[in-house]
């Protein structure tokens, strides 16, 4: 039995609880307001977590839930392939969202790996084509942004699922557009490793959540393209910065950063902590160094310590620690549980690998 089993089980049980009878996962839980409406974006990438859990735990219920979530998502897909932004409502259809569509593609591609037909992949390709068609010559999107014309750098996490589709379909138009978007983002890397516009809004502190989105998107894209020097290279300074910070702060990263790496230590963004742990581990996969795993395990340990272990919400992970911190104030987002589960599975696999190679 590995040291993270208990936390992983609690987290997966919580994730199961977030799903409604139709297959949508509630965005967040609050002790005062209860469950929110389902969130298509995070339901999309939760599919990936569920399918990983299915392989990891060998429990078919996770696969069934992932498929159910997939059918629900396709039931709300727009005819042009896009997905609506925001929380789902029967009565009001939100406008299409670039970012949300990207995250849903991630789940659909993952489903396509488990099913022997093209059902999921066709849907994912349709979405990726919509995304590709929206990319302008300079690598930005005009339609479907969360903040009018603002293209945040965490759109690298849109390029990545697009590239996942390209890898499985060989649709070069999708690849070309994803690379354009990615190049535009990488050009925004500062000398100190910060990537401009990696927060929700321009010129505002960025949560570690969106910083990690940005880094992960670039890292995964570089891996798929097999072009580390052209893309992944731009994350190296930030990765090393987070390595040191994770260690110096014993796994409790500041919740957000202002320009110049000025961290807000009054709270920690727990999903960001888990996401940064994943970034370090993915980087380490390319450049093996157990020191990076050490930092990852401290980040994960910190989230484990903050995870709810009693009461009705056992397994839930807060947006912030303390829970009244600036990120998702007093709420337990489903994506915090998602990234915690992802980090726990990845870390467990890495530690097991280390043990096996030395046995």
């Amino acid at each position: 039995m590995n040291r993270y089993n208990k936390n992983l089980d609690m987290t997966l049980k919580w994730i199961e609880k977030t799903f409604d009878e139709h297959g949508g996962s509630s965005a967040h839980y609050s002790r005062f307001l209860g469950w929110s409406k389902p969130y298509p974006e995070t339901t999309g990438y939760l599919i990936t977590t569920l399918l990983n859990a299915y392989e990891f735990k060998k429990e078919v219920k996770y696969k069934k839930l992932a498929i159910k979530a997939g059918y629900w998502l396709l039931s709300i897909q727009n005819d042009d392939g896009s997905f609506p932004g925001g929380l789902y409502s029967k009565h009001k259809k939100n406008s299409p969202s670039v970012f949300n569509t990207g995250q849903i593609i991630d789940g659909l591609v993952e489903l396509s790996k488990f099913e022997q037909n093209d059902y999921w992949l066709n849907a994912a390709e349709k979405s990726a084509i919509w995304l590709g068609e929206g990319v302008k010559e300079d690598g930005t999107w005009v339609v479907g942004n969360y903040q009018k014309s603002f293209n945040p750098s965490y759109y690298s996490q849109v390029a990545w699922p697009m590239l996942r589709v390209w890898k499985r379909t060989n649709n070069n138009l999708i690849k070309e557009k994803a690379v354009k978007a990615l190049s535009h983002i990488c050009k925004k890397t500062s000398k100190n490793g910060e990537i401009i516009d990696w927060g929700f809004k321009p010129n505002e502190p960025a949560f570690t959540h969106t910083i990690a989105y940005t880094l992960r998107g670039i890292i995964e894209s570089a891996i798929i393209l097999d072009k580390w020097d052209d893309f992944g290279f731009y994350t190296e300074k930030a990765i090393n910065k987070f390595y040191r910070l994770s260690e110096l702060k014993n796994g409790r990263l500041p919740g957000s950063f202002k320009k110049g790496w000025i961290g807000d230590n009054s709270y920690s963004c727990l999903t960001g902590n888990a996401q940064i742990a994943i970034c370090l581990m993915r980087f380490e996969h390319l450049f093996p160094d157990l020191r990076l795993i050490n930092a990852s395990s401290k980040l994960v340990d910190y989230v484990c310590l903050q995870q709810r272990s009693r009461g009705k919400s056992v397994g839930a992970v807060g947006g912030s620690s303390p829970i009244w911190g600036k990120y998702m104030f007093l709420r337990y987002p489903n994506w915090a549980a998602k990234y915690h589960a992802d980090a726990l599975m990845l870390l467990t696999k890495r530690l097991e690998f280390e043990k096996e190679t030395n046995a």
Partner: protein
């Protein structure tokens, strides 16, 4: 007569005492011992702000767990007739000046070391030393680091040596403004033997560290040493090994 200074991290340190006693036996009794205590209210506040209150609890828990780490040093000193680890008592008995401070880089500590103008300063704990203090000590502060430099820099050096498949042992080196980046004086490999665990190997390394620190100071005094410049690309700094990795280090050691 050469002037030797010694820096300790706290009063009841068996390892600092062992270095002091061995320096005395070799005829180079320290002229001054600076005890730089690691805790101040300001520092505690910073730690709590940065790492949360639980980090203090964890630290105290770890100290409680690792109380046995100086056992071999304690036994050796007791066999030499020293039964109490108090540096202050030892200094009084041997007529050595004691300076106590909460910060090794304070004006008080810098003033004290400048006044002595030491030929060499033995470092046995007391926090990260900044340039101003290093300059005041004539750039001749010597440390025994429990890992192979430059490959292993920073904390939990023994665990990291095992985890990264680097020989275990002691590097004696000069302290500069970086973390374990100064010129190397000497490297001594200490191999684990069957039955060793992290604790037992660490104790052997601590003993070897004390002996090598004294031996190399004496060699430096007599000019019988060639310094090796720390060269090449710096390896990633090591930090305290996490519980998950410590488990693997223990497992590797027992294979």
């Amino acid at each position: 007569m050469h002037k030797i200074a010694l820096i300790a991290g706290y009063n009841n340190s068996w390892t600092s005492l062992m270095v002091a006693e061995k320096l005395k036996i070799s005829g180079n009794t320290p002229k001054i011992i600076i005890i730089a205590y690691p805790f101040t209210v300001k520092r505690l506040k910073t730690v709590i702000r940065n790492r949360g209150i639980e980090s203090i609890r964890n630290y105290l828990f770890k100290i409680k767990k690792s109380n046995s780490k100086d056992l071999l040093v304690e036994q050796e000193l007791k066999s030499m007739g020293i039964s109490s680890p108090s540096i202050k008592k030892w200094a009084k008995k041997n007529n050595v000046k004691i300076v106590e401070t909460n910060n090794i880089n304070s004006n008080k500590a810098i003033g004290a070391i400048k006044k002595i103008d030491p030929d060499f300063t033995a470092y046995t704990g007391g926090g990260i030393i900044k340039k101003q203090f290093i300059d005041a000590a004539n750039n001749k502060i010597i440390n025994a680091h429990s890992g192979k430099m430059p490959e292993i820099r920073g904390m939990s050096a023994l665990e990291w040596s095992i985890l990264l498949n680097i020989p275990t042992g002691i590097t004696t080196h000069f302290i500069d403004k970086g973390i374990d980046t100064g010129n190397i004086i000497d490297w001594k490999e200490i191999k684990a033997v069957k039955g060793d665990n992290l604790d037992s190997l660490r104790q052997k390394i601590v003993i070897a560290g004390c002996n090598n620190l004294v031996k190399n100071i004496n060699k430096l005094i007599s000019g019988k040493i060639t310094l090796k410049k720390s060269s090449g690309q710096l390896s990633r700094q090591c930090f305290i090994v996490s519980d998950a990795l410590k488990e693997i280090a223990n497992m590797k050691l027992n294979l």
